[in-house]
Amino acid sequence: MRRLLDADDLSRMVRRLAHEVIEGNGGAQDLVLLGVRTRGVPIARRLADAIRTIEGVDVPVGELDVTLYRDDLALRDPMPIGATDVPVDVEGRTVVLVDDVLYTGRTVRAALDATSALGRPARIRLVCLVDRGHRELPVRADHVGKNIPTSTEEMVVVRLSETDGVDEVVVGDAR
Protein backbone atom coordinates (compact mmCIF):
# COMPACT_ATOMS: atom_id res chain seq x y z
CA MET A 1 0.00 0.00 0.00
CA ARG A 2 1.31 3.42 -0.95
CA ARG A 3 0.14 6.48 0.89
CA LEU A 4 -0.52 9.21 -1.67
CA LEU A 5 -2.10 11.86 0.52
CA ASP A 6 -1.87 12.61 4.22
CA ALA A 7 -4.03 14.59 6.64
CA ASP A 8 -2.56 17.96 5.64
CA ASP A 9 -3.06 17.21 1.96
CA LEU A 10 -6.68 16.31 2.64
CA SER A 11 -7.44 19.39 4.64
CA ARG A 12 -5.90 21.67 1.98
CA MET A 13 -7.89 19.82 -0.63
CA VAL A 14 -11.19 20.27 1.24
CA ARG A 15 -10.53 24.02 1.60
CA ARG A 16 -9.85 24.32 -2.12
CA LEU A 17 -12.97 22.31 -3.03
CA ALA A 18 -15.05 24.54 -0.74
CA HIS A 19 -13.77 27.61 -2.61
CA GLU A 20 -14.55 25.97 -5.93
CA VAL A 21 -18.09 25.06 -4.87
CA ILE A 22 -18.79 28.61 -3.67
CA GLU A 23 -17.32 30.07 -6.80
CA GLY A 24 -19.21 27.70 -9.06
CA ASN A 25 -22.46 28.57 -7.30
CA GLY A 26 -21.78 32.29 -7.13
CA GLY A 27 -21.98 32.15 -3.32
CA ALA A 28 -23.30 29.74 -0.69
CA GLN A 29 -26.99 30.49 -1.03
CA ASP A 30 -29.50 27.68 -1.84
CA LEU A 31 -26.80 25.04 -1.52
CA VAL A 32 -27.37 21.63 0.03
CA LEU A 33 -24.52 19.13 0.38
CA LEU A 34 -25.52 15.47 0.10
CA GLY A 35 -22.84 13.03 1.19
CA VAL A 36 -23.02 9.62 -0.45
CA ARG A 37 -22.78 7.03 2.28
CA THR A 38 -20.51 6.08 3.81
CA ARG A 39 -17.42 8.28 3.35
CA GLY A 40 -19.10 10.98 1.33
CA VAL A 41 -20.93 12.02 4.49
CA PRO A 42 -17.97 13.17 6.61
CA ILE A 43 -16.43 14.82 3.55
CA ALA A 44 -19.65 16.76 3.01
CA ARG A 45 -19.58 17.85 6.66
CA ARG A 46 -15.97 19.04 6.31
CA LEU A 47 -16.93 20.97 3.19
CA ALA A 48 -19.81 22.59 5.08
CA ASP A 49 -17.40 23.56 7.88
CA ALA A 50 -15.00 25.07 5.33
CA ILE A 51 -17.80 27.00 3.63
CA ARG A 52 -18.91 28.37 7.00
CA THR A 53 -15.38 29.57 7.67
CA ILE A 54 -15.11 31.20 4.27
CA GLU A 55 -18.60 32.62 3.82
CA GLY A 56 -20.06 32.55 7.34
CA VAL A 57 -23.05 30.63 6.05
CA ASP A 58 -24.41 27.31 7.38
CA VAL A 59 -25.02 25.02 4.44
CA PRO A 60 -27.40 22.10 5.15
CA VAL A 61 -25.80 18.63 4.92
CA GLY A 62 -27.71 15.45 4.16
CA GLU A 63 -26.88 11.76 3.90
CA LEU A 64 -27.75 9.69 0.87
CA ASP A 65 -27.83 5.89 0.82
CA VAL A 66 -27.86 4.74 -2.79
CA THR A 67 -28.00 0.99 -2.23
CA LEU A 68 -31.57 0.64 -3.47
CA TYR A 69 -30.67 2.54 -6.66
CA ARG A 70 -27.66 0.47 -7.62
CA ASP A 71 -27.68 -1.66 -10.75
CA ASP A 72 -25.03 -4.05 -9.50
CA LEU A 73 -26.90 -5.63 -6.60
CA ALA A 74 -26.09 -9.04 -7.97
CA LEU A 75 -22.36 -8.41 -8.04
CA ARG A 76 -21.87 -7.26 -4.50
CA ASP A 77 -22.19 -8.67 -1.05
CA PRO A 78 -25.57 -7.90 0.46
CA MET A 79 -25.17 -4.52 2.10
CA PRO A 80 -27.04 -3.11 5.02
CA ILE A 81 -29.19 -0.24 3.89
CA GLY A 82 -28.22 2.95 5.66
CA ALA A 83 -30.38 5.90 6.43
CA THR A 84 -31.17 8.54 3.87
CA ASP A 85 -31.51 11.73 5.84
CA VAL A 86 -31.95 15.03 4.04
CA PRO A 87 -32.84 17.92 6.36
CA VAL A 88 -34.25 20.26 3.71
CA ASP A 89 -36.45 20.08 0.65
CA VAL A 90 -34.15 19.81 -2.38
CA GLU A 91 -36.78 21.37 -4.64
CA GLY A 92 -35.23 24.34 -6.50
CA ARG A 93 -31.90 24.14 -4.68
CA THR A 94 -28.42 23.36 -5.90
CA VAL A 95 -27.57 19.89 -4.68
CA VAL A 96 -23.89 19.10 -4.35
CA LEU A 97 -23.30 15.36 -4.30
CA VAL A 98 -20.16 14.50 -2.36
CA ASP A 99 -18.35 11.19 -2.68
CA ASP A 100 -14.89 9.94 -1.80
CA VAL A 101 -13.71 8.11 -4.94
CA LEU A 102 -15.08 8.50 -8.47
CA TYR A 103 -14.48 5.27 -10.40
CA THR A 104 -16.97 3.58 -12.74
CA GLY A 105 -19.61 6.26 -12.28
CA ARG A 106 -22.25 3.76 -11.22
CA THR A 107 -22.50 5.05 -7.67
CA VAL A 108 -22.99 8.56 -9.04
CA ARG A 109 -25.68 7.38 -11.40
CA ALA A 110 -27.45 5.71 -8.46
CA ALA A 111 -26.99 8.89 -6.42
CA LEU A 112 -28.58 10.94 -9.21
CA ASP A 113 -31.60 8.64 -9.15
CA ALA A 114 -31.75 8.75 -5.37
CA THR A 115 -31.62 12.55 -5.46
CA SER A 116 -34.33 12.74 -8.10
CA ALA A 117 -36.53 10.59 -5.87
CA LEU A 118 -36.31 13.31 -3.23
CA GLY A 119 -37.60 16.06 -5.50
CA ARG A 120 -36.49 18.26 -8.38
CA PRO A 121 -33.35 20.30 -7.59
CA ALA A 122 -32.51 23.33 -9.74
CA ARG A 123 -29.15 21.74 -10.53
CA ILE A 124 -26.93 18.93 -9.27
CA ARG A 125 -23.15 19.24 -8.95
CA LEU A 126 -20.65 16.52 -8.16
CA VAL A 127 -17.64 16.79 -5.86
CA CYS A 128 -15.23 13.95 -5.33
CA LEU A 129 -12.04 13.71 -3.36
CA VAL A 130 -10.28 11.36 -5.77
CA ASP A 131 -10.94 10.61 -9.44
CA ARG A 132 -9.22 7.37 -10.36
CA GLY A 133 -10.56 7.08 -13.94
CA HIS A 134 -12.01 3.96 -15.63
CA ARG A 135 -15.51 5.37 -16.11
CA GLU A 136 -18.18 2.95 -17.34
CA LEU A 137 -20.79 5.70 -17.67
CA PRO A 138 -20.60 9.24 -19.10
CA VAL A 139 -20.16 10.85 -15.74
CA ARG A 140 -17.84 13.76 -14.90
CA ALA A 141 -17.16 15.49 -11.60
CA ASP A 142 -17.48 19.28 -11.35
CA HIS A 143 -14.83 19.54 -8.67
CA VAL A 144 -12.08 16.98 -8.08
CA GLY A 145 -9.67 16.91 -5.14
CA LYS A 146 -7.00 14.96 -6.95
CA ASN A 147 -6.80 12.92 -10.15
CA ILE A 148 -5.01 9.64 -9.41
CA PRO A 149 -4.38 7.52 -12.49
CA THR A 150 -4.70 3.82 -11.53
CA SER A 151 -4.96 0.45 -13.11
CA THR A 152 -8.08 -1.62 -12.57
CA GLU A 153 -5.94 -4.08 -10.60
CA GLU A 154 -5.36 -1.43 -7.98
CA MET A 155 -7.66 -0.14 -5.33
CA VAL A 156 -7.88 3.34 -3.92
CA VAL A 157 -8.87 3.70 -0.29
CA VAL A 158 -9.84 6.96 1.34
CA ARG A 159 -9.57 6.78 5.12
CA LEU A 160 -11.10 9.48 7.28
CA SER A 161 -10.69 10.12 10.96
CA GLU A 162 -14.49 10.03 11.45
CA THR A 163 -14.83 6.52 10.03
CA ASP A 164 -11.33 5.02 10.06
CA GLY A 165 -9.41 6.93 12.72
CA VAL A 166 -6.92 8.41 10.27
CA ASP A 167 -6.90 10.87 7.37
CA GLU A 168 -5.13 9.46 4.33
CA VAL A 169 -5.50 8.18 0.80
CA VAL A 170 -3.68 4.97 -0.09
CA VAL A 171 -3.32 2.94 -3.26
CA GLY A 172 -2.67 -0.78 -3.24
CA ASP A 173 -3.04 -4.05 -5.02
CA ALA A 174 -6.67 -5.18 -5.12
CA ARG A 175 -5.69 -8.82 -4.74
Partner: protein, 313 residues
Protein backbone atom coordinates in the same frame (compact mmCIF):
# COMPACT_ATOMS: atom_id res chain seq x y z
CA UNK B 1 -23.32 -8.53 8.08
CA UNK B 2 -25.76 -11.37 8.78
CA UNK B 3 -25.74 -14.63 6.85
CA UNK B 4 -27.55 -14.41 3.49
CA UNK B 5 -31.20 -15.41 3.49
CA UNK B 6 -32.00 -18.24 1.12
CA UNK B 7 -35.66 -18.71 2.05
CA UNK B 8 -37.98 -17.22 4.62
CA UNK B 9 -40.29 -19.87 5.97
CA UNK B 10 -40.33 -19.88 9.76
CA UNK B 11 -39.06 -17.37 12.30
CA UNK B 12 -37.14 -20.12 14.08
CA UNK B 13 -34.95 -20.50 10.97
CA UNK B 14 -33.66 -16.94 11.38
CA UNK B 15 -30.74 -15.77 13.47
CA UNK B 16 -31.01 -12.69 15.64
CA UNK B 17 -28.66 -10.88 13.24
CA UNK B 18 -30.87 -11.69 10.28
CA UNK B 19 -33.95 -10.44 12.12
CA UNK B 20 -32.23 -7.22 13.12
CA UNK B 21 -31.05 -6.71 9.56
CA UNK B 22 -34.53 -7.29 8.15
CA UNK B 23 -36.06 -4.86 10.63
CA UNK B 24 -33.34 -2.25 10.00
CA UNK B 25 -33.78 -2.65 6.26
CA UNK B 26 -37.56 -2.42 6.59
CA UNK B 27 -37.15 0.80 8.53
CA UNK B 28 -35.29 2.35 5.59
CA UNK B 29 -38.01 1.07 3.26
CA UNK B 30 -40.71 2.84 5.27
CA UNK B 31 -40.58 6.21 3.41
CA UNK B 32 -40.92 4.32 0.15
CA UNK B 33 -43.69 2.09 1.50
CA UNK B 34 -45.52 5.15 2.80
CA UNK B 35 -45.09 6.81 -0.60
CA UNK B 36 -43.15 9.67 0.91
CA UNK B 37 -40.49 8.74 -1.58
CA UNK B 38 -40.74 7.37 -5.10
CA UNK B 39 -40.38 3.69 -5.83
CA UNK B 40 -36.80 2.46 -6.25
CA UNK B 41 -35.32 0.53 -9.17
CA UNK B 42 -33.61 -2.06 -6.94
CA UNK B 43 -35.29 -5.21 -8.25
CA UNK B 44 -35.88 -4.08 -11.82
CA UNK B 45 -36.02 -7.13 -14.09
CA UNK B 46 -36.68 -9.60 -11.31
CA UNK B 47 -39.87 -11.63 -11.42
CA UNK B 48 -41.71 -12.28 -8.19
CA UNK B 49 -44.46 -14.89 -8.34
CA UNK B 50 -47.32 -14.65 -5.89
CA UNK B 51 -48.44 -18.27 -5.63
CA UNK B 52 -51.59 -18.00 -3.57
CA UNK B 53 -53.28 -21.35 -3.11
CA UNK B 54 -55.47 -19.95 -0.36
CA UNK B 55 -57.45 -16.79 -0.77
CA UNK B 56 -55.96 -13.77 0.93
CA UNK B 57 -56.51 -10.56 -0.94
CA UNK B 58 -54.92 -8.39 1.72
CA UNK B 59 -51.66 -10.28 2.02
CA UNK B 60 -51.37 -10.68 -1.73
CA UNK B 61 -51.92 -6.96 -2.23
CA UNK B 62 -49.25 -6.18 0.33
CA UNK B 63 -46.69 -8.44 -1.36
CA UNK B 64 -47.72 -7.06 -4.73
CA UNK B 65 -47.13 -3.47 -3.63
CA UNK B 66 -43.88 -4.38 -1.89
CA UNK B 67 -42.52 -5.93 -5.06
CA UNK B 68 -43.67 -3.02 -7.19
CA UNK B 69 -42.17 -0.37 -4.92
CA UNK B 70 -38.88 -2.17 -5.61
CA UNK B 71 -39.64 -2.24 -9.37
CA UNK B 72 -39.87 -6.02 -9.58
CA UNK B 73 -42.28 -7.60 -12.03
CA UNK B 74 -45.08 -9.49 -10.36
CA UNK B 75 -46.96 -12.46 -11.71
CA UNK B 76 -49.95 -13.81 -9.87
CA UNK B 77 -50.74 -17.48 -9.70
CA UNK B 78 -53.95 -17.78 -7.79
CA UNK B 79 -55.36 -21.23 -7.75
CA UNK B 80 -58.40 -20.87 -5.59
CA UNK B 81 -60.73 -23.73 -6.39
CA UNK B 82 -58.37 -25.54 -8.74
CA UNK B 83 -56.62 -28.82 -8.17
CA UNK B 84 -53.57 -27.04 -6.83
CA UNK B 85 -55.49 -26.06 -3.71
CA UNK B 86 -55.84 -29.72 -2.97
CA UNK B 87 -52.05 -29.84 -3.00
CA UNK B 88 -51.90 -32.55 -5.63
CA UNK B 89 -49.77 -30.63 -8.02
CA UNK B 90 -47.93 -28.04 -5.96
CA UNK B 91 -44.60 -29.39 -7.13
CA UNK B 92 -45.80 -29.61 -10.73
CA UNK B 93 -46.84 -25.99 -10.48
CA UNK B 94 -43.43 -25.13 -9.06
CA UNK B 95 -41.74 -26.81 -12.01
CA UNK B 96 -43.83 -24.71 -14.35
CA UNK B 97 -42.89 -21.55 -12.50
CA UNK B 98 -39.22 -22.48 -12.73
CA UNK B 99 -39.58 -23.00 -16.45
CA UNK B 100 -41.23 -19.60 -16.74
CA UNK B 101 -38.17 -18.12 -15.08
CA UNK B 102 -39.51 -16.60 -11.88
CA UNK B 103 -36.86 -15.42 -9.43
CA UNK B 104 -38.78 -15.86 -6.19
CA UNK B 105 -41.97 -17.57 -5.07
CA UNK B 106 -44.25 -16.06 -2.46
CA UNK B 107 -46.35 -18.98 -1.29
CA UNK B 108 -49.61 -18.82 0.59
CA UNK B 109 -51.19 -22.17 1.34
CA UNK B 110 -53.51 -23.90 3.75
CA UNK B 111 -51.01 -26.77 4.02
CA UNK B 112 -48.65 -26.41 6.98
CA UNK B 113 -45.11 -27.15 5.89
CA UNK B 114 -45.78 -26.88 2.15
CA UNK B 115 -43.25 -24.00 1.82
CA UNK B 116 -40.61 -26.21 3.49
CA UNK B 117 -41.31 -28.92 0.95
CA UNK B 118 -41.37 -26.46 -1.93
CA UNK B 119 -38.05 -24.94 -0.88
CA UNK B 120 -36.46 -28.39 -1.04
CA UNK B 121 -37.58 -28.75 -4.65
CA UNK B 122 -36.93 -25.37 -6.26
CA UNK B 123 -33.77 -23.37 -6.80
CA UNK B 124 -35.27 -19.96 -6.18
CA UNK B 125 -36.07 -18.46 -2.77
CA UNK B 126 -39.40 -19.34 -1.21
CA UNK B 127 -41.09 -16.69 0.91
CA UNK B 128 -43.78 -18.04 3.18
CA UNK B 129 -46.86 -15.82 3.12
CA UNK B 130 -48.71 -18.10 5.52
CA UNK B 131 -48.92 -21.90 5.63
CA UNK B 132 -51.85 -23.47 7.42
CA UNK B 133 -51.56 -23.05 11.17
CA UNK B 134 -47.79 -23.09 10.97
CA UNK B 135 -46.12 -19.74 10.27
CA UNK B 136 -46.64 -16.27 8.86
CA UNK B 137 -43.19 -14.77 9.31
CA UNK B 138 -43.71 -11.44 7.54
CA UNK B 139 -46.69 -10.74 9.80
CA UNK B 140 -44.54 -11.24 12.88
CA UNK B 141 -41.79 -9.07 11.42
CA UNK B 142 -44.17 -6.25 10.58
CA UNK B 143 -45.59 -6.42 14.08
CA UNK B 144 -42.10 -6.29 15.58
CA UNK B 145 -41.34 -3.29 13.35
CA UNK B 146 -44.53 -1.61 14.52
CA UNK B 147 -43.65 -2.14 18.18
CA UNK B 148 -40.08 -1.00 17.59
CA UNK B 149 -41.14 2.15 15.77
CA UNK B 150 -43.63 3.00 18.51
CA UNK B 151 -41.75 1.93 21.64
CA UNK B 152 -38.12 2.12 20.48
CA UNK B 153 -37.48 -1.54 21.27
CA UNK B 154 -39.23 -4.87 21.62
CA UNK B 155 -36.87 -5.90 24.42
CA UNK B 156 -38.73 -6.11 27.71
CA UNK B 157 -42.14 -5.31 26.23
CA UNK B 158 -45.02 -7.15 27.89
CA UNK B 159 -47.09 -8.52 25.04
CA UNK B 160 -50.43 -10.21 25.64
CA UNK B 161 -51.76 -12.33 22.79
CA UNK B 162 -55.44 -13.14 23.17
CA UNK B 163 -57.61 -15.45 21.10
CA UNK B 164 -57.45 -18.55 18.96
CA UNK B 165 -53.80 -19.50 19.32
CA UNK B 166 -54.38 -23.10 18.24
CA UNK B 167 -55.36 -22.33 14.66
CA UNK B 168 -53.13 -19.27 14.32
CA UNK B 169 -50.01 -19.18 12.17
CA UNK B 170 -49.68 -15.55 13.25
CA UNK B 171 -49.46 -16.52 16.92
CA UNK B 172 -46.76 -19.13 16.26
CA UNK B 173 -44.55 -16.70 14.34
CA UNK B 174 -45.34 -13.92 16.78
CA UNK B 175 -44.28 -15.92 19.83
CA UNK B 176 -41.04 -17.10 18.22
CA UNK B 177 -40.06 -13.61 17.11
CA UNK B 178 -41.11 -11.71 20.22
CA UNK B 179 -39.28 -14.20 22.43
CA UNK B 180 -36.17 -13.88 20.26
CA UNK B 181 -36.32 -10.10 20.63
CA UNK B 182 -36.69 -10.30 24.40
CA UNK B 183 -40.37 -9.54 24.94
CA UNK B 184 -42.42 -11.13 27.72
CA UNK B 185 -45.33 -12.91 26.11
CA UNK B 186 -48.57 -13.94 27.78
CA UNK B 187 -51.10 -16.08 25.94
CA UNK B 188 -54.76 -15.78 26.89
CA UNK B 189 -57.09 -18.21 25.19
CA UNK B 190 -59.97 -20.55 25.84
CA UNK B 191 -58.27 -23.85 26.84
CA UNK B 192 -59.76 -25.47 23.74
CA UNK B 193 -57.99 -22.96 21.51
CA UNK B 194 -54.57 -23.24 23.13
CA UNK B 195 -52.10 -25.69 21.53
CA UNK B 196 -51.05 -28.57 23.79
CA UNK B 197 -47.67 -28.61 25.53
CA UNK B 198 -46.61 -25.00 25.01
CA UNK B 199 -44.21 -25.37 27.95
CA UNK B 200 -41.29 -24.96 25.59
CA UNK B 201 -42.55 -21.70 24.12
CA UNK B 202 -41.21 -19.53 26.93
CA UNK B 203 -44.56 -17.83 27.46
CA UNK B 204 -46.96 -17.35 30.34
CA UNK B 205 -50.41 -18.79 29.91
CA UNK B 206 -53.32 -17.04 31.59
CA UNK B 207 -57.06 -17.42 31.39
CA UNK B 208 -58.33 -14.14 32.83
CA UNK B 209 -57.81 -11.36 30.31
CA UNK B 210 -58.97 -8.69 32.76
CA UNK B 211 -56.26 -9.64 35.22
CA UNK B 212 -53.55 -9.41 32.57
CA UNK B 213 -54.52 -6.14 30.87
CA UNK B 214 -53.16 -3.68 33.46
CA UNK B 215 -49.69 -5.18 33.02
CA UNK B 216 -49.76 -5.19 29.25
CA UNK B 217 -47.71 -2.94 26.95
CA UNK B 218 -48.96 -4.48 23.71
CA UNK B 219 -52.35 -6.16 23.41
CA UNK B 220 -52.36 -8.41 20.37
CA UNK B 221 -55.82 -9.65 19.47
CA UNK B 222 -56.09 -12.70 17.22
CA UNK B 223 -58.81 -13.36 14.74
CA UNK B 224 -61.42 -15.93 15.76
CA UNK B 225 -63.40 -17.65 13.08
CA UNK B 226 -67.07 -17.97 13.80
CA UNK B 227 -67.12 -21.51 12.41
CA UNK B 228 -65.05 -22.69 15.37
CA UNK B 229 -68.09 -22.70 17.60
CA UNK B 230 -69.62 -25.44 15.47
CA UNK B 231 -66.80 -27.75 16.52
CA UNK B 232 -67.41 -27.00 20.20
CA UNK B 233 -64.26 -24.94 20.68
CA UNK B 234 -66.47 -22.38 22.44
CA UNK B 235 -70.21 -22.16 23.06
CA UNK B 236 -71.19 -19.10 21.03
CA UNK B 237 -69.76 -15.92 19.56
CA UNK B 238 -71.70 -14.03 22.21
CA UNK B 239 -69.98 -15.93 24.99
CA UNK B 240 -66.63 -15.57 23.25
CA UNK B 241 -67.06 -11.81 22.95
CA UNK B 242 -68.05 -11.45 26.59
CA UNK B 243 -65.33 -13.67 28.09
CA UNK B 244 -62.40 -13.23 25.68
CA UNK B 245 -63.36 -10.38 23.35
CA UNK B 246 -61.96 -6.86 23.59
CA UNK B 247 -64.39 -3.99 23.93
CA UNK B 248 -64.21 -0.44 25.25
CA UNK B 249 -64.88 -1.55 28.85
CA UNK B 250 -62.03 -3.98 28.84
CA UNK B 251 -59.69 -1.46 27.16
CA UNK B 252 -60.08 0.82 30.18
CA UNK B 253 -57.85 -1.63 32.03
CA UNK B 254 -55.13 -1.30 29.37
CA UNK B 255 -52.47 1.32 30.21
CA UNK B 256 -52.82 4.64 28.39
CA UNK B 257 -49.56 4.24 26.46
CA UNK B 258 -50.14 0.63 25.44
CA UNK B 259 -50.64 -0.50 21.84
CA UNK B 260 -53.62 -2.40 20.46
CA UNK B 261 -52.78 -4.65 17.52
CA UNK B 262 -54.62 -7.11 15.28
CA UNK B 263 -53.38 -8.95 12.16
CA UNK B 264 -56.63 -8.29 10.29
CA UNK B 265 -59.18 -8.75 9.02
CA UNK B 266 -61.15 -8.13 12.19
CA UNK B 267 -64.32 -10.03 13.02
CA UNK B 268 -66.07 -7.03 14.46
CA UNK B 269 -68.11 -7.87 17.50
CA UNK B 270 -66.32 -11.16 18.15
CA UNK B 271 -62.71 -10.61 19.14
CA UNK B 272 -62.85 -6.81 18.87
CA UNK B 273 -65.75 -4.38 18.98
CA UNK B 274 -65.97 -1.59 16.43
CA UNK B 275 -65.61 0.85 19.29
CA UNK B 276 -62.37 -0.80 20.40
CA UNK B 277 -60.98 -0.52 16.88
CA UNK B 278 -61.42 3.26 17.07
CA UNK B 279 -59.37 3.40 20.27
CA UNK B 280 -56.43 5.84 19.96
CA UNK B 281 -54.07 3.07 21.11
CA UNK B 282 -54.93 1.02 18.03
CA UNK B 283 -52.09 0.78 15.51
CA UNK B 284 -53.92 -1.58 13.18
CA UNK B 285 -53.61 0.66 10.11
CA UNK B 286 -49.94 1.27 10.86
CA UNK B 287 -49.42 -2.49 10.83
CA UNK B 288 -50.73 -2.54 7.27
CA UNK B 289 -48.25 0.11 6.05
CA UNK B 290 -45.40 -1.48 7.95
CA UNK B 291 -46.30 -4.74 6.25
CA UNK B 292 -45.32 -3.32 2.88
CA UNK B 293 -41.95 -2.13 4.22
CA UNK B 294 -41.20 -5.48 5.87
CA UNK B 295 -42.10 -7.39 2.72
CA UNK B 296 -39.88 -5.03 0.69
CA UNK B 297 -37.01 -5.80 3.05
CA UNK B 298 -37.62 -9.55 2.76
CA UNK B 299 -37.80 -9.47 -1.04
CA UNK B 300 -34.67 -7.33 -1.22
CA UNK B 301 -32.67 -9.60 1.08
CA UNK B 302 -33.84 -12.84 -0.52
CA UNK B 303 -33.15 -11.64 -4.04
CA UNK B 304 -29.76 -10.11 -3.33
CA UNK B 305 -28.65 -13.31 -1.64
CA UNK B 306 -29.64 -15.57 -4.51
CA UNK B 307 -28.29 -13.47 -7.29
CA UNK B 308 -25.03 -13.50 -5.46
CA UNK B 309 -25.03 -17.27 -5.40
CA UNK B 310 -25.70 -17.31 -9.13
CA UNK B 311 -22.82 -14.98 -9.83
CA UNK B 312 -20.51 -17.08 -7.71
CA UNK B 313 -21.39 -20.24 -9.58
Amino acid sequence: MSAPLTDLIAIRDLTRDQVDDLLDTAREMLPIARRERASVPTLRGRIVCNLFLEDSTRTRLSFDLAAKRLSADVVDFTAEGTSVTKGESLLDTAETLMALGVDLIVLRTSSAGAPVQLAREVEVPVLNAGDGWHQHPTQALLDALTIRERCGTVEGARVTIVGDVLHSRVARSEVELLRMLGAHVTLVAPPTLLPPDVGGWGVTVASDIDAVLPDTDVLYVLRVQRERMHRAFFPSTREYASVWGIGADRLRRLPADALLMHPGPVNRGVELTSEAMEDPRSVITEQVTNGIAVRMACLYRLLSATTRAEVAS
